[in-house]
Structures are given as structure tokens and as C-alpha cells.
């Protein structure tokens, strides 16, 4: 063996084995703390998965709203314990209707990544017969500029069905990393307008939907763009600080309540088992420290960080796709060992297309096998006390705070998106990762190594349905013909004036959805009022 150091993905040098002496102080003295005690790295509840197994929560959606409705029902029937509404990204991410020239010129793409939902009518179809009152739902709106529309749509349908908004549980994500760092859209509102939207949503939920998780900061999209685990942690909390500082500045709702709302986050679970599991433990610890030190909040319920986790899509290979079932299992196990509250496993056909029904089923089955057969739910924080894991946890916390500080030095998280500083960090890592593969330093089974075995099963890309664009176009025309035009125009005008003011956008958005204003019309208002984000990278 050479003398080259062995590094983790956060570039922490790994020893060949660990002993108690390796665990740095002050972490060493915390090792014996039980789960349920601050700083919560061992988990928030001592009984862990015994009382509440993680939620099986799969991204799902394609085609027409009724296709997506059918797939969600399929997943619920197969054992999913919450549901996610995925909106078609061509239209949703950009807030375009299907007749926007950029969508028309790609009409076959429409419906490939989620159902097309341009008005409350479409959302109503998608939610037909779904247990809105009893399920935890992701209402869509993963993208910042789309979140107010998606949330207002979901809530409007719930109200019309007679459900009490105060009892509704779910989330909408509204995540900066997704489209400002990971998957940059062609047009979107500038980050300061996005911050305002998110603060509006947090305030609105605090007053009207106490069980709703208003925003969910998602490290996933930073990580899958190239940020290392320590950077994923550091940037996630730097992002959270933007929200909390803004809420504090506005001083309209108690900061503790807002902090509780920001405590539902999502991480990527990647393939380096121990570092990724340690990352989840580090995240809980950092959240508790951040609240105490920066905001003087020590209330245990607020310090309870709930983690949703998605396995790393970018680790799924195009070649020999069935191998990805194994990768998915390993990454799912990793997340569970880290004690996450909710989990989605990427489909084995991730590198080829959106998940087929079979790939979706496998993602659920992986989690069911873990929950039902492995006895993994029996003991909380099973890795706790491992010299290696505890050392890694402490080292990750330290490196992550350093990255957090670097971001603060650069003017904060949003400033780092505006300037492209975070993109540069991600690109640097991507490049390194790619070069390690290219040089043979990192083998990928079936891709750069063991390429020769024949898969007996032909897996091809799933292409959804082929009528999503036509049906969406017909429905858009139908809506324009049959809606109460004066009411819609008035609601849209009101929304525009609210956008220009400093008032909360959500009441006007709910009124607009109720008046059957369309997504594209709302997007046009945004573009007129807020302009376009100045993308700092070449895409």
C-alpha cells in the first residue's frame, strides 16, 4: 500500500481504525448522552423508529393530472405513507402555461417530469380521492417562484372539500438550491424576491396552517450538484439563517414558531455509508447549536430537526441499471442508520428516465424490506458510540461550521448564489469527482469497471404518456372560455399590486387560485414586477 492518505468525500483524512481517544472534545463527553437530549445528534426521541418508523415518501408524477393521481394511488396502495405531487417542470419551474413558445417548442417534454397543473381545476383532478385530511402531503412547489401557486392550489382544493386548513399537514419545499444552484431555470425571480415569498409563506402558515411545514431547505440539490457533505450541511444552515434573519427583521411572528417551521429539512443520502450517516447526526447537532447560539432558542420541540432524505440520483448509473437497486438499498440503509424521518429512494432507472411503475415499486419495496425484515427499527441510533462514527460526526460539524462561516464572509447564502460562489465550489468538486472516475482512481461498477456482464433484463427509459400537452392545451382553452373572466382579471390585478407592495403574497394568491387565474398569468406578473435573476453561471 502506498502512503497516499485515504479521504472521505468531505476530504477528512480517515484512519485505518479508531479508538476512544480519537473522538475530539467536546464531542467525547457527549457520546454517552441518550437520544432525546440536547444536542440531539443521537435523535430527538429515545424510542426512535419503535414509535414512528420513517415515512416512505416517493417523488411521483407524470402526464396528465389523472395519470399522476393514478400513480399516487398505486404508491399508497403499495405502502407509501405520504404522497408527493410533482408538477410538470417545463411549465411549473418557469411559471409558464403550455402555450408559452418555450413550452410549445418542446411539447413532447410536457408531462415527462410531473403532471401539468395550470389552474386549480387541474390540481383538483390530481387530488381526486386522495386522503388530504389524513396524509402528509408534498403539495409541489419545490421551486421558489412556483411554491405560492402550488400551495395556494392545494389549500384551495382542501378548503373546497371542506377540510380545515388548521389541521392540514404537509410541505411545499420552496427550495433555493433546486433552481438557483442545482438545476438553473431559464427564467426565475431574483433571490431577494424569492426570500420575500418564503418569508411570506412562513408567516402565513404560522397564522393559518400550524401543522404545515412552510418551507423545506433542501441540501439535496446542493449535494447532487457537487457540494461535499460538510458543504451541504454548512450551506443548508446558511440558507436557514437567511429565512430566520428575515423573519426576525420583519418581527411579525414569534421567532420560535418560525424556527420550528424551518426545522423540516432534506438531505441527500449518498453512497459513502458512514460519512453520510454521520452527516444526519451532525445536522441535528448543528441545528440545536445554531438555535441556541444565534437566536437564543432552546425549546426542545423547536430544536427537533426533522430530516427528509432522498438517495443520490447522480450515483445511479446508466449502464447495468439493475445494479442501482443495490445502490438504492445501500443509500437507504445509510439514511436510516442516520435516523431520518422520511425517505425517498431514487428509481433504478434514474439515469435513463423518470421512474417506471416497476422502478417506483422497487423504491418502496427496498424501504419496506428494511422496515419489516431487518429489525432496524428496534434500536435508536445504532451507530452511536462507534469511535469512527462519533469522530466523523464531530469532524463534520467542525468542517461544516467552517463552510458556513465562509459563506457568511461572502455576504451570506443568497449573495453566494447571486455571485456564483457556491456554483464554483460545486463545479470544482464535480470536476474532481469526474476526474477521479476518468483516471480510474474511483471505480464505478458496470461503468468503469466490471463492464462485461450482460443484464438479462432490458431496461429502457419510461416515457410517460403522450397526450399531456394536448390535454393541457385543451383544458387551458376550456378554462379561458368558461371561467368568470372579470373575477379572474380582478384577482390577477390585485395579485400584481400585492407583489408591488410589501404585503403578504399568500392571501392574494389564494384568491387568484380560487378565481381560476392560471400559472402563466401569475408568471407574467412576476416577470413584470420582479424581473429576471441574473444567472451567474453558463449553463
Amino acid at each position: 500500500m502506498g502512503t497516499k492518505p485515504v479521504l472521505s468525500s468531505s476530504e477528512i483524512e480517515l484512519k485505518a481504525y479508531y479508538t476512544a481517544e480519537d473522538i475530539p472534545e467536546p464531542h467525547r463527553s457527549r457520546v454517552n448522552l441518550p437520544p432525546g437530549e440536547a444536542p440531539y445528534h443521537r435523535g430527538f426521541h429515545s424510542s426512535g423508529y419503535r414509535t414512528k418508523p420513517w415515512r416512505i415518501f416517493q417523488l411521483s408524477g407524470f402526464g396528465k393530472p389523472e395519470d399522476e393521481n393514478e400513480r399516487i394511488k398505486f404508491l399508497l396502495k403499495n405502502g407509501e405513507t405520504g404522497f408527493i405531487m410533482e408538477h410538470d417542470r417545463n411549465t411549473a419551474d418557469h411559471c409558464y402555461n403550455v402555450d408559452h413558445p418555450d413550452v410549445v417548442s418542446r411539447r413532447e417534454d410536457v408531462g415527462l417530469t410531473g403532471a401539468v397543473m395550470q389552474s386549480v381545476r387541474d390540481i383538483d383532478i390530481c387530488l381526486d380521492g386522495l386522503p388530504m385530511d389524513t396524509s402528509f402531503a408534498h403539495a409541489g412547489g419545490a421551486v421558489v417562484q412556483h411554491a405560492p401557486f402550488a400551495l395556494a392550489g392545494y389549500w384551495t382544493v382542501a378548503k373546497r372539500r371542506g377540510f380545515d386548513l388548521r389541521k392540514l399537514a404537509g410541505t411545499g419545499q420552496s427550495d433555493f438550491n433546486l433552481t438557483y444552484l442545482g438545476c438553473v431555470t431559464k427564467q426565475q425571480i431574483p433571490t431577494d424576491a424569492g426570500l420575500r415569498f418564503n418569508a411570506d409563506i412562513i408567516e402565513f402558515c404560522t397564522e393559518n396552517l400550524p401543522r404545515w411545514v412552510p418551507v423545506s431547505v433542501a441540501g439535496y440539490n446542493g449535494a447532487d450538484s457537487g457540494l461535499t457533505p460538510d458543504q451541504e450541511l454548512g450551506s443548508l444552515f446558511a440558507n436557514t439563517v437567511e429565512y430566520l434573519d428575515e423573519i426576525k427583521r420583519r418581527n411579525k411572528i414569534p421567532l420560535e414558531v418560525a424556527a420550528k417551521g424551518c426545522g423540516g429539512v432534506s438531505f441527500r443520502s449518498s453512497i459513502h455509508i458512514f460519512e453520510e450517516a454521520a452527516k444526519m447526526r451532525a445536522a441535528r447537532l448543528m441545528w440545536s447549536d445554531l438555535l441556541r447560539e444565534r437566536y437564543d432558542i432552546t425549546e426542545p420541540k423547536t430544536a427537533n430537526l426533522r430530516i427528509h432524505c432522498v438517495t443520490a440520483g447522480s450515483k445511479m448509473t446508466y449502464q447495468q441499471p439493475l445494479n442501482n437497486i443495490v445502490r438504492g438499498t445501500v443509500m437507504a440503509l445509510t439514511a436510516v442508520l442516520g435516523g431520518v424521518q422520511s425517505l425517498g429512494v431514487s428509481g433504478y432507472d434514474e439515469a435513463l428516465s423518470i421512474p417506471s411503475e416497476h422502478a417506483h415499486q422497487m423504491s418502496v419495496r427496498i424501504q419496506q424490506i428494511l422496515q419489516e425484515e431487518t429489525n432496524i427499527c428496534a434500536v435508536t441510533d445504532p451507530l452511536g458510540g462507534s469511535y469512527y462514527i462519533e469522530t466523523l460526526t464531530a469532524q463534520l460539524v467542525e468542517k461544516a461550521w467552517q463552510f458556513f462561516e465562509d459563506i457568511m464572509q461572502e455576504g451570506g447564502y443568497l449573495a453566494c448564489l447571486d455571485s456564483g460562489w457556491l456554483h464554483a465550489k460545486a463545479a470544482e468538486n464535480q470536476h474532481k469527482e469526474f476526474m477521479a472516475m476518468e483516471s480510474g482512481e474511483q471505480n464505478i461498477v458496470g461503468v468503469t469497471f466490471a463492464e462485461d456482464d450482460e443484464s438479462p433484463y432490458e431496461v429502457d427509459g419510461f416515457m410517460g404518456t403522450d397526450d399531456a400537452f394536448d390535454v393541457a392545451t385543451a383544458r387551458l382553452n376550456e378554462l379561458r372560455r368558461t371561467r368568470h373572466e372579470t373575477g379572474a382579471k380582478a384577482a390577477l390585478k390585485n395579485l400584481e399590486s400585492v407583489c408591488r407592495s410589501e404585503s403578504n403574497i399568500m392571501p392574494a394568491m389564494l384568491a387568484a387560485l380560487d378565481a381560476e387565474v392560471t400559472l402563466g398569468e401569475i408568471g407574467d406578473v412576476y416577470r413584470e414586477v420582479f424581473g429576471d435573476w441574473n444567472t451567474p453561471i453558463q449553463t
Binding site: E108, C183, Y318, G461
Partner: protein, 129 residues
């Protein structure tokens, strides 16, 4: 500095802004001495106009969606600039790969080696033979 640099147009056919793959490829091509004109998410009309006006030697398409969108771009480029070589990468499932290859497009699915992509660019622009 000599003046024989070959010019490559890089475009994304979908409205999907994943930039990992295309950025790494563009950098590798630049580092291999190519001038890479990046137009990001572009419609078929944008791609054709850029291929003509920029008088490029090769067009690279990043594909991430329905194959028909990509095929339309390929057909239009070939109509406007007969004989201009194209290559493509991205999320290209096997059925789509076959359709693109039938049109003479070289396809690099995820997991392809950068060296192979650069080699293809050199061959297609006759920088090496």
C-alpha cells in the same frame, strides 16, 4: 497563437437546467483547444440560428427529455447546415440512442469518458484523422 481553433456549439434541447454534465464537457473541450459557444436551454430555432450565424464546425446537444424534441433539433440543423456533424449526451435511454445514431449523431450516455468525447470532437471537426 495560431488561428485554427475549431468552434463547437453547445445547446440544451430541454427546459431542464442541470448543468453538471454540460459544464464538465464544455470545460474539457475548451481545455482541448476548442472554442465552445454555449447557448444553454435553446429552442430548435435558436439552435439553428446559432449553428448558421456562428459558423460552427460541430454541434453538441445535451438531451434531457423526450427524444422527439431532440430529433426535431437534429433534423433542423441538418437541413440548415447539410453535412455539419452533431454529437449528443445526457439522459438518452436506449431507444432514443438508436434513433439518434440512425441520423448520424454520435451519442454519449451518462458514464461516458471525457477522453472519448474530446476524441470524437477532434475526429468530427477533422482536427485529427
Amino acid at each position: 497563437m495560431d488561428n485554427s481553433q475549431k468552434r463547437i456549439l453547445m445547446a440544451k434541447t430541454g427546459l431542464d437546467g442541470h448543468w453538471r454534465g454540460p459544464t464538465i464537457v464544455a470545460r474539457a473541450l475548451r481545455d482541448a483547444g476548442f472554442e465552445v459557444i454555449m447557448i444553454g436551454m435553446a429552442s430548435t430555432d435558436d439552435i439553428v440560428r446559432a449553428a448558421v450565424d456562428e459558423d460552427v464546425d460541430l454541434v453538441g446537444l445535451n438531451i434531457g427529455g423526450h427524444i422527439n424534441v431532440a430529433l426535431r433539433a437534429v433534423n433542423s440543423v441538418q437541413e440548415a447546415r447539410p453535412g455539419l456533424p452533431l454529437f449528443a449526451g445526457g439522459t438518452v435511454p436506449p431507444h432514443a440512442m438508436k434513433q439518434l445514431q440512425a441520423l448520424g449523431v454520435e451519442v454519449f450516455p451518462p458514464g461516458s469518458q471525457l477522453a472519448a468525447i474530446v476524441e470524437s470532437a477532434e475526429r468530427l471537426t477533422h482536427r485529427s484523422s
